[in-house]
Symmetry: D2
């Protein structure tokens, strides 16, 4: 598991005074950039230099409690599933002041050649980073 | 069904030159504001004057094709399910130049009292707006 | 003068419940995309197909009154100055319900070759669009 | 001077593949939140608990070089001028990999009572924070 902390910013709050549901995807993307920071050149290098992207094909989000301005959120990222050309990352959003799980997001992406905009084999270092944080299978499945 | 058209804006595109997956939630929210424009005072009046909100509890999104700068997207909104205090809106994102379905989003929200931040009975006019665009049940279920 | 209308959106408001000062630049950019919609291919075509950009070199903004969620803003765009490779657009932000001028923005950009990232001669159709909305010089200067 | 570092994020880049000029205001606001982190309750507490805001009345920005995805920007914040109810913060945006000054922003705000939306005397701790980072007058003026 890799954890990424960030404060809720002034602009992140909407007219209902809570963090807008779409903003969690931006937070998740920041956490993913952090998740892949072990790659040479980081996530930015993967996109910009190697032209390998990870377009999202599916998202499932559950929202359990609100985030407000002044809160700090800790996002814990694990690999839920790992395929040949795709993976599912799970993001658990935890409000730090009371350790409440405020949201959970499962994010499926496909490794893609950004020139051809076609799926491609997952690069070895990307696979390695995902493998290092693969969730243990639940005991009941053994 | 209510349709909402909007161009992909200059800022909406990310470093991979396609619309970021979280941006679709902003587009969906704009479409929802449009969906509820029949309410007296509109969506803004519901939030700001009546202090009734619709916090999201669940999202499911499927992404099928990319959106790029210069594209125009048409978002078709229907009510998929309607409960006492909750509803599911379905947003179908269609790229206008080739009528390709680029994404589909199911969005579950709960009507809530923004003072108490607690769920509340759905106001009658909100229910009416949702009912007017309820998807017909598939023939096979009749 | 070209006018562009848009509602203040749910997400546009910040934790102080007014539109964040940086958001006016997004509004201005939308108005600029509208301003250049007379070009063949529009603003998007200029950037994406012709690879001509208009990087900003200077901004001056004055904020006179707040915008809130539920307001509609009308942005009136004129050309304040026109040079060989640069221009100044003026954006006047007017709150429609009471016709109050809430902000004024002067925006200087340079036409640039996005391949070389170097300034370039202003394309003829861009100049024409700017010339069509050039502010009359004040009478006192004649 | 207080420095704030942040990477250019994936979403921060626009269709011309450089950071959009309005995004610098978001970066500046983050730097300001950091600048005021010495206040009890921080910037968030000032806005949310004490209901003291700092609405912007004037902005002047000069853009000298682009920021791209993968860059890290360091924002150096100083107090340029300090009045009874207003102040000017200067933000210098420096691209870390080559220490190039990419932009400079002068930001004038007025301390305000967010209940009454009226200017108010600057709270003592806000003044103190600003005073601690006041730019020395240039020697030539002594």
């Amino acid at each position: 598991m890799i954890a990424y902390r960030r404060p809720v910013r002034f602009e992140d709050v909407d007219a209902a005074q809570i963090v807008f549901f779409g903003r969690y995807m931006s937070y998740a993307h920041e956490a993913m950039e952090h998740f892949f920071s072990s790659l040479v050149g980081g996530y930015a290098g993967m996109i910009m230099d190697r032209r390998v992207g990870v377009p999202t094909v599916k998202l499932e989000a559950r929202y359990l409690a609100p985030l407000r301005y002044g809160d700090v959120v800790r996002i814990e990222v694990t690999t839920l599933r790992l395929g040949n050309r795709s993976a599912v990352l799970r993001y658990r959003f935890i409000r730090e002041q009371d350790e409440v799980l405020v949201a959970e997001l499962d994010h499926t992406f496909v490794t893609s050649d950004l020139h051809a905009l076609r799926s491609c084999e997952m690069p070895a270092d990307v696979r390695e980073a995902l493998l290092a944080h693969l969730e243990a299978p639940p005991a009941s499945t053994m």
